[in-house]
């Protein structure tokens, strides 16, 4: 069962996701749509009650049912967000037995963001990827949409070898035509140049892109001291026997360089980049991120 506790975000209820740029539609400033009203998107029918405007009566329904129904519309949001969750094998890594795997952590973060955005009546979609695009849930702002997002997240198991960049290209070219916010939750263990090109593609589509770099503390610190055989989570046949103490410097240097390059090159593309450690509480990590977004706004 997915461990998602909406109460985690209660304390950030006041925080709002502020768009940095116009995505689509118009900027209303603070997104708050507590009422179903006269928007462009039909939501549901309800029985006419005295006081309702006559023009909202669905006459077609009256003709079919001989009862008066009023059409309700969702207020159209000013933000359309896509959550891209990496479900590749590398995301299955967990540093210690008690810790969350990177994928579980990404699930928690994605669920939290979805809940919060839907609570603000923003539209949220979900795309899960491994060797290919596994699931695409188009963005919707309906509260009922949350269940679908969460169920899809829950059903997703990490596995397989991933080359993320081609999938991002595919998404940018075919599925994410309407500009919006693309939040990518991944460890980004791929060729950096390819990743940057894919980000360029997304940016070319005028998407606001946020990279949430999910990392285990062991990957950041490499605390191993014994001779260790590392088995690739994505390609299980690949094994490397490593004198960890001897290799640690090289590893940390390579890793830090990758992270720095990713951050720098993402920054140049005006892509937001944020590291999330799986040993940090999800709410805290998310809070820190949202606070930063708010300050930037």
């Amino acid at each position: 069962m997915l461990r998602f506790d909406p109460s985690e975000l209660r304390k950030y209820g006041g925080l709002t996701l502020i768009a940095r740029q116009i995505v689509e539609g118009y900027l209303t400033g603070v997104h708050r749509s507590p009422y179903k009203g006269f928007s462009v998107e039909f939501a549901e029918h309800r029985q006419y009650t005295p006081g309702d405007e006559i023009r909202h009566i669905d006459w077609r329904a009256v003709g079919k049912t001989d009862r008066y129904y009023v059409k309700e519309y969702e207020e159209e949001t000013n933000l359309r967000a896509y959550l891209l969750v990496d479900g590749s094998g590398s995301m299955a890594f967990r540093g210690s037995k008690k810790a969350l795997s990177k994928f579980e952590y990404a699930q928690h973060v994605a669920a939290s963001i979805a809940y919060m955005m839907l609570h603000q009546m923003d539209a949220v979609g979900l795309i899960t990827l491994d060797t290919k695009v596994r699931a695409i849930i188009p963005p919707k702002a309906s509260p009922k949409h949350l269940l679908q997002v969460l169920t899809t997240l829950e059903r997703t198991q990490p596995g397989g070898e991933t080359a993320m960049a081609p999938l991002w290209h595919e998404l940018a070219g075919h599925h994410l035509k309407r500009r919006g916010m693309v939040i990518i939750l991944s460890d980004f263990f791929d060729r950096l140049d390819d990743l940057v090109k894919a980000l360029q593609h997304l940016r070319h589509r005028h998407h606001e892109v946020m990279l949430l770099h999910i990392l285990a503390p062991e990957e950041l610190e490499f605390p191993y001291k014994r001779l260790t055989q590392f088995r690739d989570l994505e390609a299980t046949s690949q094994k490397v026997l490593v004198d960890t103490r001897r290799l640690r410097d090289d590893y940390l240097r390579n890793f830090e360089q990758f992270r720095k390059d990713l951050k720098d090159r993402a920054g140049k593309l005006r892509v937001d980049y944020h590291v999330m450690r799986t040993d940090e509480p999800v709410d805290r990590a998310l809070g820190i991120y949202l606070s930063r977004r708010q300050r930037q706004a």
């Binding site: 460890d187 001779l227 690739d232 026997l241 103490r245 001897r246 290799l247 410097d249 590893y251």
Partner: protein, 725 residues
């Protein structure tokens, strides 16, 4: 180049440890499912560097082990330049302190023994840290004062200062052998034996000592003999010092009967300058109580004054006869002791082969000689049984009312054959220390004796019986005893061949021809004029047996029983054979004391008063008590809780009284046998000898320095690699 302890090179197998550990470590690793594989790639250069570092580290550890093992095996090399820079090698040293009583000769209040201890203390003081020393007190049997190579030089000094006073003789070759054995396990390059003696010829280069040196040199490879430094600690002692001493007491009887006269002999001997005035008097003591004095003549003839005295013992038991003269510069030879066992009567069982029950049978001659009917208090308790009635239990059953009258001597007199069961009983009797006299006469059947009891020398009979030879009718050709052939102490009295004596007048027209063989153990102790043995003796078990070629009666027309010496002869033979029971009481050094009370006393505690050292109390659960710590010469007094006293005397070496020093030829004689022998005077002579360039120089210290350097480098490298990690 070589190794002092090459066996330790087996430790080189430990060289396999680093590669094995390395390989095992390569097989022991954690397994981790990992995501960030792309960052684990290291450059080929780094990989080669890591491999090289690990390989070097492994080689270094192997080198460490190799150097350590080589160092422990004590390598040596002959390199003159190394000899110059090498620190003085440590040495193992055995100090041999001459403990003979000549070392007690005192001049100006200081004995040679004191001088030796001071000399040794001075030497030990100059030794360096790491040198080790053992100390042996050389006596007739060497005694270890520090029985192992000790690096605790204070302990060594203390042990030397506490060395017992000198007494007894010395077997220096035995002490050197002990020292060689101690040094054999030494791993050090310098091994020294330092002998501290008084330069006396006796004990160093007298014929017996030279024989011992020769045996030692023959049995020891020259390479195994360490440096042998010989120090005369009293070089200024005069060459011809006068010294009066007493020679060991002698007596024909170690067993005597109560009230019977026993004769003792000793000598006052003068060694050194002739014409010295002998001591005023010689004191005689029995059991520590004065028993009379003797005044020797004031002028000694040839430096020897024979002394003899007789003594009667009124009580049975063990008695100690002591002769002393006044104390002089050498106190060790002014006293002599002799232990005598005195019995109420000596029980003798006579088994007579004459079936006649008449006055004329042969055993009656023995009865008349040993226990005459008119003698109310005879020395011997005699029982005569016919051969047919001789049963084994007679050898253990008391002959009288007293339990202590079990036979001491059995006489098998002219018995035709000795049955196997009788033979086995006699064998057991001899094994337990009994005395047996076998007389051969016309009734004896040789085949039975030879097959059952001689058994080609393996039986108890001393000689093979060939045949009875001689003509009873021809008295003119009858052979007579040869006086010079009388070798046994029991026959000492009969060497005099004056008319009427045994050696001069006894004749034996017919006798048994006996064949003796060296390997059979039988020794002729009296020969007849025709070179045939008259008496043959053999030790068997703890006892002894004498085989007589004649019946010791008046058979075969001998005149033996008509001679006055007949009675004395059978008395002496009986005393001699009776003394076998219970073993000797006058012992050689290191000969163990075997004590078994003859009166049937139950086992219990026995107190031993040795001549030197503390009294020892020994709990005895079963007789006999065997006490083997008899290396000190002098009197050992054993006392049971019932008050029974038994004396034992370990005889000293009389030659020690002669203080004549070694000549140059004497010293060379020993040097020729033991090539490493050098005569020195001061400790510096021993210690300051420069290292010969051709000497084997140990360089384990060089390897140790390399080990330390390599170890430091290994630690540095390990830390560097670990730090790099």
């Amino acid at each position: 180049m070589g190794f002092l302890a090459p066996a330790l090179l087996a430790g080189l197998v430990a060289l396999a440890i680093p590669p094995i550990v390395h390989l095992l470590n390569r097989r022991r690793f954690d397994v981790l499912d990992w995501a960030a594989m792309q960052f684990l790639q290291v450059s080929e250069r780094t990989r080669k560097k890591v491999f090289l570092e690990h390989f070097l580290l492994m080689l270094m550890r192997m080198g460490l082990i190799a150097l350590l093992v080589l160092g422990i095996a004590s390598p040596w090399i002959r390199l003159p330049w190394l000899a110059k820079i090498a620190p003085p090698p440590n040495r193992d040293m055995v100090l041999i302190l001459d403990g003979s009583f000549s070392m007690g000769y005192t001049k100006d209040g200081r004995s040679a023994h004191d001088a030796a201890k001071d000399w040794a203390a001075d030497l030990v003081r100059q030794l360096q840290v790491g040198d080790s020393v053992a100390v042996i007190h050389a006596k007739q049997q060497p005694t270890a004062l520090v029985g192992y190579l000790s690096t605790d030089l204070d302990q060594v000094r203390g042990a030397m200062m506490d060395a017992p006073k000198p007494r007894g003789g010395v077997n220096m070759a035995a002490a050197v052998r002990e020292a060689i054995l101690l040094l054999k396990a030494s791993g050090k390059g310098r091994r020294d034996i330092v002998i501290l003696t008084d330069g006396q010829r006796h004990g160093w280069a007298d014929p017996k000592s030279l024989e011992r040196w020769e045996l030692l040199a023959g049995g020891t490879p020259q390479g195994d003999v360490p440096n042998l430094w010989v120090v005369n600690v009293v070089p200024d002692r005069g060459a011809d010092l006068p010294n009066w001493s007493l020679s060991p007491i002698q007596s024909s009887r170690a067993v005597a009967a109560v009230g019977r006269e026993v004769k003792f002999k000793t000598e006052l001997q003068l060694s050194g300058t002739a014409g010295q005035k002998p001591p005023d008097k010689v004191r005689i003591e029995v059991d520590g109580r004065p028993a009379g004095d003797q005044r020797p003549p004031t002028i000694a003839d040839k430096g020897r004054i024979p002394l003899s005295f007789t003594q009667r013992f009124s009580t049975p038991g063990s008695h100690l006869v002591t002769v002393t003269i006044d104390e002089d510069a050498m106190p060790g030879d002014n006293r002599q002791d002799y232990a005598v066992e005195v019995m109420p009567t000596i029980p003798v069982l006579v088994v007579d082969g004459d079936p006649r029950n008449a006055r004329s049978r042969g055993a009656d001659f023995l009865r008349d000689a040993l226990a005459p009917a008119l003698d109310t208090n005879p020395s011997f308790l005699l029982r005569i049984v016919p051969a047919s009635e001789f049963s084994p239990d007679l050898l253990t059953r008391p002959l009288g009312r007293d339990v202590a009258t079990a036979p001491r001597v059995v006489v098998l007199m002219n018995i035709p054959t000795i049955r196997p069961d009788q033979g086995q009983a006699i064998e057991a009797f001899l094994t337990n220390g009994g005395g047996v006299l076998v007389t051969l006469g016309p009734r004896v059947e040789a085949s039975g004796y030879n097959e059952e009891h001689f058994r080609d020398g393996r039986g108890w009979l001393p000689a093979r019986l060939i045949d009875a030879i001689g003509d009873e009718s021809d008295l003119e050709k009858a052979p007579r005893p040869v006086a010079s052939s009388l070798e046994c102490p029991a026959l000492e009295l009969f060497k005099n061949d004056e008319p009427g004596s045994f050696a001069h007048s006894a004749y034996f027209p017919r006798h048994w021809k006996l064949e003796t063989r060296a390997e059979a153990g039988g020794v002729p102790i009296a020969l007849l004029g025709n070179r045939n043995p008259l008496f043959v003796e053999k030790g068997f078990g703890k006892g002894r047996v004498i085989l007589s070629a004649v019946p010791l009666d008046n058979g075969w027309r001998t005149n033996l029983t008509d001679l006055g010496d007949y009675v004395r002869l059978v008395h002496e033979l009986m005393y001699y054979l009776a003394a076998a029971k219970g073993g000797d009481v006058n012992l050689e050094a290191k000969q163990p004391i075997v004590f078994r009370p003859s009166d049937g006393e139950l086992p219990g505690p026995v107190t031993v008063h040795p001549p030197e050292g503390p009294v020892r109390r020994i709990s005895v659960k079963e007789w006999p008590l065997v006490y083997d710590d008899t290396r000190e010469t002098g009197v050992y007094k054993l006392t049971t809780d019932t008050g029974k006293v038994q004396y034992y005397v370990v005889q000293p070496d009389g030659g020690e009284s002669n203080l004549s020093p070694c000549s140059e030829e004497d010293r060379l004689a020993v040097s020729r046998l033991l090539r490493t022998t050098q005569y020195v005077l001061t400790p510096t002579d021993v210690l300051s000898k420069e290292v010969d360039p051709e000497t084997q120089i140990e360089f384990w210290w060089l390897l140790l320095a390399l080990v330390i350097a390599l170890l430091a480098f290994e630690v540095w490298m390990t830390r560097r690699i670990a730090g790099a990690k």
